[in-house]
Symmetry: C3
Subunit: 140 residues, 3 copies
Amino acid sequence: MFHRVLDWVTEDRMQLINITDRVNEIVRKSGVREGLIHLQSLHTTTALFLNEWQGALLEDVRGFFSQLVNSAAYYRHNDPEYSDCERKNADSHLRGMMMGQTLCLQVRNASVLLGTWQSIILAEFDGPRSRSVAVQVSGV
Amino acid sequence: MFHRVLDWVTEDRMQLINITDRVNEIVRKSGVREGLIHLQSLHTTTALFLNEWQGALLEDVRGFFSQLVNSAAYYRHNDPEYSDCERKNADSHLRGMMMGQTLCLQVRNASVLLGTWQSIILAEFDGPRSRSVAVQVSGV
Amino acid sequence: MFHRVLDWVTEDRMQLINITDRVNEIVRKSGVREGLIHLQSLHTTTALFLNEWQGALLEDVRGFFSQLVNSAAYYRHNDPEYSDCERKNADSHLRGMMMGQTLCLQVRNASVLLGTWQSIILAEFDGPRSRSVAVQVSGV
């Protein structure tokens, strides 16, 4: 069982990062040829998911997240009367929760199994921040 | 490979339950120090996900689910002409489907790997009911 | 570790397919009695998830996806000025991303662990197409 932590410093409040190459680098280092790789972003206001890495589409993705969770709505988490959260980031929590912070993928022939158009994307929903993704590779 | 089933009796139609401590208790009993833990709620009208366990935010989360899937809309699943479902719970099915009923997490140093603000949450979308979560711990 | 690829030719732009029986057939062939099964659809405009397989509900599910992501909205991915995508399928990408293309389930007693009402569903969001789901079974 092989473990590593990948770190990033994000630059925008909402930001999409293609982490496919760094994940594959870990698989190569692990020496595992067939098995599973489990990724977990350790932050509730981030997410991990698959999609095509195309500039125009990524803009649509950011627009969709903005529309799915209305940042301008009233949230109790942002209200000092009910919450001591100073980041006013209820919208970030809801986006992270909807998309999920874990991703489990197959390792095949010493690399991550992905379809032609599938990239592994880390979404920052409350940046800029320092972010960590814990990676575990198991198998043979 | 270590298996257990966790049971709950829920009290509200929509209810959020922090199951982190009970999951960690199973990891301790399993004796596994490094590996994977797989959780599956066995009911389509429930979900498992990660988020911060804070009262104000949990109210926002419930409000968001209510808004994401409109309980008052027409659903064929609730229409006796098309369906024999007496629970009228199409909204519960859609919420459970969106959030998912499975969660796979890393076991590290004999406990579930979670970021500082990540709790494991079981969501009831069609209570009150008896609910079961099947847990599998594998590793070394 | 046992690997297979399941193939389908879909018939509609949006289509739901119950793949539970074919997944269980693979588990039987694998000889694994206790472990994990990992499914990954290799296409960004598809998804895998659990729900009840009931005709009336499936119509509600399709209606919900249509409403969650507005196919008639403007998307940069569909705009020849910004994108060379000829399929105009930004809506399909957003639906696939929201629902996810991976599913990890427990193998118990030589079959996939599922609650009474849980079926494994492959969603086509940009058909008709040829589609493949990579399956890995591990355990003892």
